[in-house]
Symmetry: C2
Subunit: 144 residues, 2 copies
């Protein structure tokens, strides 16, 4: 059902922009929604290729951009040189705890930190648009 509303959002988005709902776009969205990991375009391309051998990677990059415009995906950068994408719809703002050993990323939210961030920006008279916070370390499983 979440899946259903995201499809609908994408369909509405495309219609509004005068764009078409193609099989490639459907497929890429579907595979993107199917997993909760933070995938790179390349990783998603590999996944999608298994269902449609003829798909091009430029298409994956293009659709990912569309998904961001449609507020269904959001870019994240774990500092490993590749842009990653996460679900945005139904996922409120959050930050990340990233394990530098296994690459796993946990989504976290600390309301107290959020409040302090707003206060900090205000102290410098900044109009805050958005923010990112990445905590890098080793997850319990990787601590051996």
């Amino acid at each position: 059902m979440t899946d259903h509303s995201e499809r609908k959002i994408f369909g509405d988005f495309l219609a509004e922009k005068g764009l078409r709902d193609t099989a490639q776009r459907e497929l890429i969205l579907e595979e993107f929604l199917r997993r909760e990991q933070h995938l790179t375009a390349e990783e998603l391309y590999d996944i999608v290729k298994q269902r449609d051998r003829t798909i091009g990677q430029a298409t994956v990059y293009r659709v990912l951009k569309l998904l961001c415009d449609a507020k269904l995906a959001r870019e994240v950068d774990f500092g490993d040189g590749a842009r990653r994408y996460e679900h945005e719809f139904g996922h409120e703002h959050h930050d990340h705890l990233v394990c530098t050993s296994c690459g796993k990323a946990i989504e976290v939210l600390d309301p107290a930190i959020e409040t302090l961030q707003r206060a900090l920006a205000e102290r410098y008279r900044f109009t805050l648009a958005n923010h990112e916070m990445y905590l890098y370390g080793t997850c319990p499983e990787c601590q051996g």
Copy 2:
């Protein structure tokens, strides 16, 4: 004097590694130290080129890497596609308030946030190595 100790640190670092203290390295360090902005390798290259027309950009990239190893510089990423470098020596850990309009970055530190970050990592049993926090918005000057 800060400049003096940074030079000494770099000299000691090079000596310890069996590397040489060359004119190019001196020049790049000097120009890097001269400004407090968060420069990209390309920007620093343009600056340094004005004093030594023959310097190569690969050298700038290489020296910047050495400066990071020597703990004189630190990489930062404001999400604009280029790696930037800031002074590390004499600059304790801090986060950034970045103006998305003029590109200016203010270094900030909020001890309360730092404490909460450590607590957050602990809650998930992560061994925290380091963290980054970027607050993006519009600075007072750019607010019109």
